[in-house]
Subunit: 209 residues, 2 copies
């Protein structure tokens, strides 16, 4: 777990999966060494930025040779945590929640959604992608039983604050919030907002007219 120790600024963490994608592709093509300049050309990120980002992970290239591709891939995978399993619960099994449970990509990136929670009687007691859907009143007990650490929040926006609070009380350590509501908590919990609809707004706004 030592790989988790270095402090890496958030904008750098966002770029690391790009480097991983690039390097994994090179490894699959049998490439052994890659320079930051070559990665730069593929990703449109400054070579000096790439070198700086990787130095946070104590990954250094060799002069004139560059980075060893397999070592770089492993270093990135270790740091990013995509190969460790993180158990999660889905809060809200509506359209987006069910869609996220159906996305096998998440499990490839280490997120194992083990159960869903909802209040809708049409959904509670059913299963979504072979995972049980419980009533939210069972949250505390189930989170403990299942050993879940992460809650993915895809409830209606007006319920977000309350649901986040319930998750924190149930012992959840990280909230991945897909609602546009800005969660605030004094608890020691990681909060990641993924406002996909806000991204949509930016895209609409920037489209050539």
């Amino acid at each position: 777990m030592e790989n988790h120790e270095p402090y890496v600024p958030e904008p750098a963490i966002y770029r690391l999966p790009w480097y991983l994608a690039c390097v994994s592709r090179l490894r699959a093509q049998g490439v052994e060494y890659v320079s930051s300049t070559a990665i730069s050309h593929q990703l449109n990120v400054d070579a000096s930025q790439i070198a700086k980002d990787l130095s946070y992970l104590n990954i250094k290239g060799k002069t004139r040779i560059g980075y060893e591709v397999r070592g770089l891939e492993k270093g990135l995978l270790d740091f990013l945590g995509f190969e460790r399993v993180h158990k999660a619960v889905m809060m809200g099994v509506g359209s987006l929640g069910a869609a996220l449970m159906a996305d096998s990509g998440l499990s490839r990136y280490g997120l194992d959604i083990v159960a869903g929670f909802d209040v809708n009687p049409d959904v509670v007691g059913t299963s979504a992608c072979d995972k049980p859907v419980y009533h939210i009143s069972e949250l505390d007990q189930r989170v403990m039983e299942l050993g879940a650490e992460i809650a993915v929040i895809a409830v209606p926006v007006e319920s977000c604050a309350e649901v986040a609070e319930l998750c924190v009380r149930a012992g959840i350590k990280a909230l991945w919030n897909f609602t546009p509501f800005h969660i605030k908590t004094s608890a020691d919990v990681a909060i990641q907002n993924t406002s996909i609809y806000a991204h949509l707004a930016v895209m609409y706004n920037r489209m050539p007219k």
Copy 2:
């Protein structure tokens, strides 16, 4: 379309949907006026920041009264474009692509995915959420017929660059990229990256150990 004219910085655009969510809730509760301070308490954003963000949209509150809730909601909705229909195609009808096509939330935010494209013979010729899935070789013709302006990209990362290029050539005006690949293009196209797996990496990294 005049509402689209003011230039609003990207970080501000990201916050606008939060304000919209907050204001829509207040409107549903029958509240008529709201101050930036009240919004600030609900969202954990500085009141002065809220006032500044809204001033980009030429929305101004009244001293001691605040913003008129219905007017504010309408101004935000108009600017954000969630009530206009934007036709889109889904590039890659795999796990994530199919999940996004199944998310009715996107259509509530103005994104109408009218067709999918893939190369997998198991998927081409079928339908996903009642929308046809075509072979990618039909892209040019179908984009024109369908009048699609946006491409949502959820293909395997190694195909992203090529698929983005095909979309641009087919006349697409905006790319919503869900792969970790960093698209570069010289064309006049809006690119929005939503690296949900990168968000996952940040969350893993920030979780209390």
